[in-house]
């Protein structure tokens, strides 16, 4: 490609702008978490830390309930992700491949789940969970997260499945593979990028979910990070160092999951299959 210098410069400026836009708050949080309190609240903010301390992290892990919340959140988010994938993959394949009555209607209906703001279903859901004894238990949050992540996940995976050339599946049929084997041996490897995206989506939504976690969980020992952490920070006086350290740690699992399953985002996976 032969781009002019001006265009190149404009592109670089564009990228730089967005990187700054997205990256600057993160840098602020991460760099702030290792500053001593005086520097954090200094009148002229420092872009680069002038001091170094781990005192905020020490306080976070030794003197607060943060580790408990962290573990709770990890349990909820990881279980929600795994469960979402376990349900969404077969469901998407069924919507994609099987012909059954009312398939089209059902397929459109599941997306209707997003027509209602979560706050609307909160009260009836609380009543429901109270009846079956799920209130103040982590499975309640897992169920809610999965229920909200599923429709979009199914919808997304189905379009990834639709991107696999029909002949590949037909070749597998001719080779004598049963439907579930085709799903496991042919389709899942081919839609790995889609599965990775859905996994990340499910994890991040569960990791950051606040409304349900704040209502369905009553005891402090069962709180997840978003709710629990907001309690740590304090109602009348804000410990900025603690806040920044907690926020930094909360980012870590999300970054880790991106690094881990983000590998699945390999493009051109079906390259060479058909042409």
């Amino acid at each position: 490609m032969n781009r002019s210098l001006g265009l190149n410069a404009a592109l670089v400026a564009c990228i730089a702008f967005f990187v700054t836009l997205v990256g600057l708050p993160f840098w602020w949080v991460v760099s702030g978490s290792i500053k001593i309190p005086q520097e954090i609240i200094a009148r002229t903010p420092t872009m680069f830390p002038q001091s170094f301390t781990l005192q905020h992290y020490q306080k976070l892990f030794d003197a607060s309930a943060y580790p408990v919340y962290l573990v709770n959140s990890l349990i909820v988010a990881a279980s929600s992700t795994v469960l979402t994938l376990l349900l969404a993959i077969p469901a998407a394949y069924a919507f994609f491949r099987l012909v059954f009555p009312a398939r089209g209607v059902l397929y459109r209906t599941i997306l209707l789940a997003y027509a209602f703001p979560s706050i609307v279903v909160l009260i009836p859901l609380f009543g429901l969970f109270a009846k079956v004894g799920l209130v103040d238990r982590l499975p309640a949050l897992i169920i809610v997260n999965v229920a909200f992540a599923l429709p979009f996940s199914i919808w997304m995976l189905r379009s990834f499945l639709a991107g696999v050339p029909k002949e590949i599946e037909e070749a597998a049929v001719m080779d004598g593979a049963p439907t579930l084997t085709i799903l496991r041996r042919i389709m899942i490897p081919l839609i790995a990028p889609g599965i990775a995206s859905v996994g990340i989506y499910a994890f991040v939504t569960a990791w950051t979910e606040y409304v349900f976690a704040s209502v369905l969980i009553l005891s402090d020992a069962k709180r997840t990070l978003p709710v629990g952490f907001s309690g740590i920070i304090g109602q009348y006086q804000i410990d900025w160092g603690l806040l920044l350290a907690g926020a930094t740690v909360a980012i870590v699992p999300v970054v880790a999951i991106f690094a881990l399953i983000g590998r699945g985002f390999v493009s051109g996976l079906t390259e060479g299959a058909v042409k």
Binding site: E170, A171, M174, G176, A177, L190, T270, G272, A273, V274
Partner: protein, 361 residues
Amino acid sequence: MAALTIENLYKSFGATEVIRGVSLSAQSGEFVVFVGPSGCGKSTLLRLIAGLERSASGSIRIGERDVTGVDPAKRGIAMVFQTYALYPHMSVAENMGFGLEMAGMAKPEREKLVRQAAEMLHLTDYLDRKPRQLSGGQRQRVAIGRAIVRNPDIFLFDEPLSNLDAELRVRMRLEIAKLHRDLGATMVYVTHDQVEAMTLADRIVVLRAGLVEQIGSPMQLYSDPDNRFVAGFIGSPRMNFVEATVTGMNDGAMLLDVAALGLSGLSIRPRVMPETLPATVTLGVRPEHLAEGGEGAVAVSLPCTAIERLGSIAYLYTAPGDDATIIAQLRGASAASPGSAVEVRLDPAQCFLFDAGGNRI
């Protein structure tokens, strides 16, 4: 190896009937080619045989077995797709062995068969590669290998060479012909390339709009077409069709005035003389039977508007780009040039007559 018999097969997609009562058979070991224009239902017919589509009515038998409702994998059929349809995440060996694995064959045995097929197709060096690391021709060979290892009764090919460049296409065509000789298997091959059809087929099935137009050996279709469609479809360049007025009959031949060729009283023998003479007919003659220096008895003078030189021979066009153009075959070293008139010889014995409905008279 098994014979294939199709009887009165129908298939529609929604309201459109795509296959409209097709009956045909392929003997054991025969190479049958389906040809026809795009959209005539060739692929659909092949997919019906494979079991990837279900017919509305009619029956398909392989050998003595009625397979009309049988699962694709249980029909003893292997199919090679136009798009190769390899499993992109599996190696060449895994691609070829997948069907055997599904059939429950043990690994050592599987590997042996895969290696045999790979040797046959010169793929031994590529067994560990992924499809994306192969060239188009190699991919197509893997697709064929995947079919071979399963030792099917019938091979189905759906335009397997149409994605390859011209040179490779010729080479693969010869390889497929050799494969047919070596395996002696029944093969059904779809193409819209009539050269492929002529060179590969024991028998050609000409399809048009979901119906069989004619079935016969390549030479039968070439020298004795049943109708104008088949006559026009088989042979390259295509047959010339010109309108002719019937002026009478003489000794089992029709007497024709052919304005387009400047002929009157041309005497052509029909296949069977109709009881009442039609007023007009369509005369069909192939370029090779309207040839400069040919053996035909009738001299025809044609205006040369364009000339296409292929080296050993050349083709003359009277109105290039027009459907009504007449194409004649010239000598390779012909002195003809655009603007001049060329005398060619018409062979009346090689002319065909068609009625207004396109049927052979």
